[in-house]
């Protein structure tokens, strides 16, 4: 685990007060700032529509293809402004996004899917086949299914394929969007375990958007909590896990153990109206 001093020292990614507007009218992010340290797993938590995916897409510059626009603030990678780069330039710089909902190339085989991840690499066939071996050691299941069309593999295998595909680009930072989506708890554990192993052994930094607060805070080093386009809380994962508000709103644990869902909802609604 990284301590605070280390977190301060080496920022890979710095998002400064960005505002994102879709279609020129819909304001989704209202000033989000966060930093991703080198070699850490940073979690971005929050409910549906909080802006997690938008934040990731703002960083990877996939917003543009969805008519989203960063209207304020700046995004720095290694101290360099990256707001105007194309997604492919960013991949060359070592930042790659694994999109929500897996998005494998359905009609390509698993191995072809992985190879597309190496599209931007220029360091020769040998290095790419090494990367392929590396992906297969972390995801042995993909090796078994390498000749199957991705569209016919299971949800877990597709998620592994999507992560493996991103790894093929030899990334420094992976923006991982909702890896737990639609997967059985056991598989979620398995995938998070692999993410942790990649982080520790290969030194890949992760910015992780996740609704499953419980799992995310167990594996991450640091967490940010987003609510309707604003960061409402942040801190080391261990602290967030113990925070009474986080416990109540995101982990469903109140002072008196688990609370009824009805109480939680009415409390939050009243608070919204007043604030």
């Amino acid at each position: 685990m990284l301590d605070d001093a280390e977190l301060q020292a080496d920022h890979l990614l710095e998002v400064n007060n960005i505002e994102v507007i879709y279609n020129h009218v819909i304001l989704v992010l209202k000033g989000v700032s966060l930093t991703v340290p080198k070699g850490g797993i940073t979690a971005l938590l929050g409910g549906n529509g909080a802006g997690k995916t938008t934040t990731l897409k703002a960083v990877s510059n996939l917003l543009h293809s969805e008519r989203g626009e960063i209207t304020k603030g700046s995004i720095l990678y290694r101290g360099e402004r990256v707001g105007n780069l194309s997604p492919s330039d960013l991949v060359k710089k070592g930042v790659i996004q694994v999109m929500e909902g897996r998005h494998c190339f359905e009609h390509l085989t698993i191995e072809e899917n992985l190879m597309t991840g190496a599209y931007t690499r220029r360091d020769g066939k040998a290095a790419i086949s090494d990367a392929l071996d590396m992906v297969y050691t972390y995801f042995p299941r993909l090796k078994e299914r390498r000749k199957s069309q991705a569209g016919y593999t299971s949800g877990g295998e597709q998620q592994m394929c999507a992560i493996g595909r991103a790894l093929m680009s030899k990334p420094e930072t992976v923006l991982l969007d909702e890896p737990s989506m639609g997967l059985a708890p056991q598989l979620v554990e398995e995938i998070f375990g692999i993410v942790k192993a990649l982080n520790e052994n290969e030194g890949v930094s992760f910015l992780l958007a996740e609704q499953n607060t419980n799992v995310a805070l167990r594996f991450a080093h640091y967490g940010y909590i987003l609510e309707s386009g604003r960061i409402v809380m942040d801190g080391p994962a261990a602290e967030l896990r113990e925070n009474p508000d986080v416990k109540e709103f995101y982990l469903g644990m109140g002072d008196q153990g688990r609370k009824s869902f009805r109480d939680v909802r009415s409390y939050r609604r009243r608070k919204r109206w007043l604030s």
Binding site: L62, F105, Y119, G151
Partner: protein, 333 residues
């Protein structure tokens, strides 16, 4: 062998070769549709434009000569040289690549993420623009295209097959146009090369990836703009081949662009997303319409070739909307 049987064989062979010619046009549609989801209405006009350019370069015509003469009062039409066929083909290919780049730069780049119908409308506009541009550049007269391929009936085949018929019957042998035979061979080579390219090269794999999922392709660092220029260039190349073949057969003239209409039923039959589908669809339509015309045509007054393909396509739309080889919609349950 009875002459009727031999006639039938001749009809089937001619049908197969006509089918290959249809497939050549359909190929261009498939390539662009697969990679960008755009139904490129301008594909037929691209074939016409490519053929016009080829003839123009080959014969040393001055492009826009009418315009130049009208504005400056000069009277120039030719540079006074002729360009060897192969070089002219290469130059035409360069023109088509430049065209692909311009289309992407000036039109498609501004229409990213628009509805398919809007992109389709844009290609309709493009088709009419190119028709006019072709006329303006090279003139609207009917031109003869000679790329040095043999044409006319094969006497050898005629002599050989004439002997096959039963004694005493009036059978003069099969008529097969040599140009069709060449067109078939060229088309087959083209398809093999394209298939190898898309299956075994990095760019080919990226093309298929883009065809599957634009967003995901973007996310792994594939540049859509570059891929689209490549796809349109390949489609331009295919249009050039189709233009050469059809132009050599029919002469280079405006109606060449209407061959696109014949490609539509081929696409419905074979599926909009499959290269082998375009070929098989073309063959089925070619053979089907020739056989139908030969056997049923005389009973109902002929000219069935004009509508047979469309009726066949309609039947396919009812029973198998994705076509014979259309990409199966993968659905996990």
């Amino acid at each position: 062998m009875s002459p009727t049987f031999l006639y039938t064989v001749e009809v089937i062979l001619n049908g197969l070769m006509a089918g290959v010619m249809y497939a050549l046009v359909a190929l261009g549609f498939v390539l662009i549709f697969k990679a960008s989801g755009i139904f490129n209405y301008a594909q037929g006009v691209m074939a016409l434009f490519a053929a016009l350019t080829l003839v123009g370069i080959q014969q040393g015509q001055v492009p826009f000569s009418h315009l130049i003469n009208a504005v400056f009062g000069t009277d120039i039409h030719h540079f006074g040289w002729t360009v060897p066929t192969l070089l002219a083909i290469l130059l035409s290919l360069c023109v088509m690549i430049l065209f692909a780049w311009l289309v992407n730069r000036l039109i498609l780049r501004h229409l990213v993420n628009q509805e398919p119908i809007i992109l389709f409308m844009a290609t309709i506009g493009l088709a009419y623009f190119m028709e006019g541009l072709g006329d303006l550049m090279w003139g609207s007269d009917i031109k003869r295209l000679d790329v040095g391929l043999p044409s006319g009936g094969s006497f050898w085949l005629e002599d050989v097959t004439a002997g096959w018929a039963a004694e005493g019957s009036e059978y003069y042998g099969m008529y097969i146009d040599l140009l069709d035979v060449w067109a078939t061979m060229i088309a087959v080579t083209l398809v093999i090369v394209l298939t190898l390219f898309s299956q075994y090269t990095k760019t080919g794999r990226a093309l298929r990836a883009v065809a599957d999922d634009h967003q995901a392709a973007l996310s792994v660092g594939i540049s859509l703009k570059a891929i689209w220029v490549i796809v349109w260039s390949i489609a331009g190349f295919v249009a050039l081949v189709a233009g050469i073949m059809w132009g050599a057969k029919l002469g280079v003239q405006f109606s060449l662009s209407l061959i696109a209409l014949k490609a539509l039923p081929v696409l419905m039959l074979g599926g909009f997303t499959s290269i082998p589908g375009a070929i098989v669809g073309g063959l089925i339509i070619g053979v089907g319409e020739k056989l139908f015309e030969f056997s049923i045509g005389p009973m109902i007054g002929g000219a069935t070739e004009n509508w047979f393909a469309y009726v066949l396509a309609l039947l396919f739309l009812v029973f198998r909307p994705q076509g014979l080889f259309g990409e199966k919609i993968i659905e996990r349950v």
